[in-house]
Each structure stands twice: as C-alpha cells, then as structure tokens.
Symmetry: C2
Subunit: 346 residues, 2 copies
C-alpha cells in the first residue's frame, strides 16, 4: 500500500455564532500517510470509523481566554478531536491488537498514529451483544452515560414524581426519558419539531410537546408542576422550569444549549424560588460520575439496546468533508437524535 490521503478537519478561525464550513472549520486534504509503513515507535495506528458530533464542541472553538468551559479550547490550526471509534490497523501495544475495535479520543482525521502513552485512553469494544458500533458514541456512549449517571446521582427519583426533560428527543434527553419512565416517574418532555414529538411519544413519555408551538409554562402548569427538571438548555427555559418546580425539587443541569452561540446571555430572574421552594440545582459532566456508575451501565445498557428496551435515534453524517456543514444544524437541533460521522466503513 502506498501513501494515501489523510484528510482532516481544522479549526481555521473562531466563530462568533454558529461555525461556518470553509471559514471556521476547514477540510484539509494536504496530508498523506502510508498505513503499511509508517513507523509505530511502540505505539499503534488506527483507522477512524466513527466520530461523535456534540454541542459541547462549540465551546471548544472559543477563545481560550474564556475559561468557562469544561473542556480545553482548540488552538487555531488544531485538528478537531472528540470521542470516536476506530479499528486498529497495526500495533505495538498488546492490549490493542490489530483488528480490534477501540473507542477513545480521536482527531477528526482518517488515520491516526498514537504513541504508546495514549493506549490507556482507549478501550476495546468487544460488543458481545452485537449492537451497531456507533451506538457506543450515543446511547451507549457519553450521552447515554450522562443521562443515566446524572439521573441516578442527582434525581432522588421517587415513583409518582414528575420530571420535565427539555430537549427530550436529544441523545441525552431520550435516555433520561426512558430511564425516568422505568423508575415510575411521570415524564413530560419538549423538543423542537413534530417529527421529534412523535419520537418522544414512541419512547412512552406521558406528555410530549413542541416548545416552538406550545407554551412551556402552560404545559408544565397543566402537567401539575414538576419535581425534577433535566436541563440541557438554560436561559429562559430554565427560568420557566424553576417557576413550575414543586417544593424540594431538583434541577439537574448538564448543558446550556441555548447559550453556546449567543453573545448576550439571558438573566434568570426567579432564583428567589430556590430559597422559597427549597430547590436543589446541580451542574455536572459525566467523567466524575463514571467510576461510580460505569460498570453497572455497561453490564446493563448494551443488552437493553440489543433487545430494543432502550431506544435511540441516530443521524449519520457521511464523511469528514460534510462535518463543517452539519455542525450548525446540530447546534440548532435540526437533527433527530445522536449525530455521528461515518469516516470510513469498518
């Protein structure tokens, strides 16, 4: 095998709103690699199969001086990177043999040469349950973990209580909805299109509505208020949820989707309710909960997915070259469910 193209995606400028393909994110085809001869130096070479496309990546495009994000920002000229799935092509690392499917942090490029020191960041996906590999980026990956671990840790769920899940049809939200139903909660969930409302109804939630055509406040009132709010939006949606919390309610914040792309932030005016109604509001990201919940999750959830008990929806971006255009759509919520990039066939 001779040298082949090793295309990649580069952060070429910092977006102010939604990133623009060709301006902020550039598809670079100037590099090549020879997978059969490239020197491993004790490391391993992977061929990228799937990459995850997530809203939080928008924050990584911001100026590093904004020290508010939980993942480090890219420098200009950096290759984007995120969780992905690859097949090992050649390897000097016994734990990651050639042919193994592995999951870990990967650059947005076709082939990646990893030093031996990176091996710990990858895990082999055995996939005894035979689920589609890409589910390890969604319902069985960080988004699924986020919904599962967060609700377990902070929900304090009691059967008969009610939960509102904003962005309920999303990758995290849909797991929260299903897990909440399994725990005996009444579930109300919102999303942004009729198609997504139908998806939510297929998950068995008690009430699904389109926040663009219905009043969130009226929906929550009609539902009888909420004990738990799963927030992936922030801003005005959070304010409306607070307004409709029951005493001793819990608010679980795992993302501020409304504010990744706006310069002017919404001011939440009703935090007095946190005191009067003894609310608990907590923010989290998944890594710190992994040690506590990952074993149980991976012992349980893949089988549920295989048996159709844990449903998901996925949208595939075909090829690295289409990622730049797909970004804005994902941030605007135009996709249904988890967005994954198919970089190559296995």
């Amino acid at each position: 095998m001779a040298a082949v193209l090793n295309p990649r995606l580069v952060l070429s400028s910092r977006p102010t709103g939604y990133p623009i393909a060709g301006k902020d994110i550039t598809y670079d085809t100037t590099r090549t690699i020879d997978p059969t001869t490239v020197e491993l130096n004790g490391g391993f070479l992977t061929k990228t199969l799937w990459l995850s496309l997530d809203p939080y990546l928008r924050g990584r495009m911001d100026d590093p001086k904004l020290k508010t994000y939980y993942a480090p920002q890219w420098a200009l000229g950096d290759t984007l990177d995120n969780t992905g799935i690859a097949v090992v092509v050649r390897s000097d690392v016994p734990a990651l043999p050639a042919g193994a499917h592995v999951m870990g942090f990967l650059p947005f490029e076709a082939y990646t040469l990893h030093p031996a020191s990176s091996a710990d960041g990858f895990q082999v996906i055995e996939n005894k349950e035979g689920v589609p590999l890409s589910t390890y980026l969604g319902v069985l990956g960080m988004p699924g973990e986020t919904g599962w671990y967060g609700l377990e840790e902070y929900g304090e769920c009691k059967p008969g209580e009610s939960i509102y899940v904003s962005t309920g049809a999303g990758q995290v939200g849909s797991v929260v909805c299903q897990l909440a139903k399994a725990k005996g909660l009444r579930v109300i969930a919102s999303t942004g299109s009729a198609e997504k409302v139908a998806f939510l109804e297929s998950l068995g939630v008690d009430r699904a509505f389109n926040y663009k055509t219905s009043s969130v406040a009226e929906e929550l009132k009609e539902f009888g208020g909420i004990d738990i709010y799963w927030d992936n939006v922030g801003g005005q949606m959070l304010e409306t949820a607070i307004e409709n919390m029951k005493p001793f309610g819990r608010l679980i914040l795992c993302g501020i989707g409304s504010e990744y792309n706006t310069e002017e932030k919404y001011g939440v005016k009703n935090l007095d309710r946190v005191v009067y109604w003894r609310l608990k509001m907590v923010g989290f990201v998944v890594p710190e909960l992994r040690p506590k919940y990952a074993d149980a999750f991976y012992a349980t959830a893949p089988g549920m997915v295989a048996r159709g008990e844990l449903k998901y929806s996925e949208e595939v971006v075909e090829g690295l070259e289409r990622v730049g255009d797909a970004f804005a759509g994902m941030l605007q919520g135009r996709n249904l469910g988890k967005v994954v990039v198919r970089v190559a066939q296995p």
Copy 2:
C-alpha cells in the same frame, strides 16, 4: 388589676417598597385587656417580653396571590406575628406554668390569650446557662439555627477551603463566619459599614470588607476564589459569587435580601457556570433541618454564648410603637446584628 391597654401592630396596607409606619404598619391602641380576670378557657395568657424583627417578614406583607414566600402572608388588618419570648401570666396548661419564660410564635401585642391547642407551639426556656433571654431570638434562635444547620447540612466543609459570607455581620452570617472558622475554613465576609467591618474582624474572619466601598469581584479574586458561598442577598451579588466559585463549589441560599423590596428582579446571567464548574446550589429554610440538628445545637451553643465563644451583636427597638419605623432600617441593613423588640421588662 383593672383593664389595661393591649396595644398591637396591624398591617394596614400592603407596601410596595419598604413598609411605612402609620401607613402600612399601624400602632393600634384601641384595645384593652384585664390580665387578672380574662377567661382562660383551658388556655394560657402571656405577657410579651421580646419579639424578633426579621427581613423575611417583609414578604408576609405582600399580596397572598404571590405564592412565592415560604411563610403565609398576613391579611389586611391582621396583627403582625413572629417568634418571640413571653412570660406566662396565668395558665390552665400544666406544661406552661405561670412565671415560665416561653418561646414561640407571638402576635405583636402586649398580652396574648392562647387556646390550649397552641401550647405545643411553645417551649419553656430554662436558660441554665444564664444568657440574656433575647439571644434565643438571635444567635440561639432561628438565625443562629439557620447558620448552624445550613452550614452543617450543605457546606461539605473541608479544612483549608474558603467561604464567602455575604451579609457576614448579620444575625445568620455572623454565626456562619464563626462556625466556618471553627471548621478550619478561610473566611471572607462582606457587610455594609465600617462599624460592621470592625465587628466582622472581631469575629476573627480572614478578610472583611464593605461591599459599598470595595468591589466584591476584586475582593473574591484577590482571596483566590471560593469553595462555598453563603448567600443572603441574591441578585447581582449571587452572580458575582458564581463568577468566583471554584469547581465543585457549593452555594447555600437562605434568603434573597436584595429582592424583598424591589419590583424589578435582577437576572442572573452566568448559570452556565453551574454546569461548567459543577456547582451545587441549594435553597433552604430552617424548619426542615431542625429535627436533625436542634438537639446538638441546644446542647452546645448556649454554653458557647455564655463563655463568649460564639459572639453576637444585637440592637434593641424599645417598644412596639417604634417597630414601624425600625422596619425599613432593618431591611436596609442599618442595624448591627440581630434586631429585637423589647415589648416589656420581665
């Protein structure tokens, strides 16, 4: 003894900002009572000695349609009421004999006739430690309990961590400051006058400043950020504290002093930090924590007060007739420490 005046304070109209004496709160001297002959009907008669004057009372003056307050609003024409200390004058209730000092919910009036069914709401103050009775309304009463129970339950204090106490010289804040120091925390506290800054320094805090003459943001930055924020203010102060929280910080909200008297509420714009920095924000009021902590508190704190280990400051309003004027001053923070009303000498 013949009939004597039984003056009282009445809510005569609902204030929009600070309550105005003679307009919103009226001193009514039209009623009389004969303490020696009034029929007890199985109940008990008390003579009011001390009444507590607290910021939360402002919320009770609002329209009952505002269902946001944790204590029920008064109707127009109601006698104000709050926690107080009285001496039992005559009694048909064996547990509350004549001569006993009792604490409980009392109307703002000189003499009160209680039905037998109210007896459970009163407890006898034995005061073996010989502290001033009025401390049972401040450092040994609801404010002291609030600071003590809240920090115990939600602080997750680790020695060497730092805490910011807004309204640190207040009745709750000064207990939080002292308890936090005892737990090995670094304490920064703000207040509104040079006199109060001096009081804070006498409590041994690491840094005290006047928020009217110093920048809260700069003070907190210079202090190295904070792990815990004790909030009794809300609004912009809360926003500034959030901005200076360290990751995994805790925010304990026990009052929204900045917003008792404003119609326009401040919008907190940086709740995205709750997610990025994994913050925990919790609101509480003291009653729900009482069962868990009251025994330990009353076994420990009175002795500390008697020995001067738990300091407090107190301002006495002399007589019911001065309460109306004292209200606005208390809400504006013009007092130093706990405000109590001396209704009568024991």
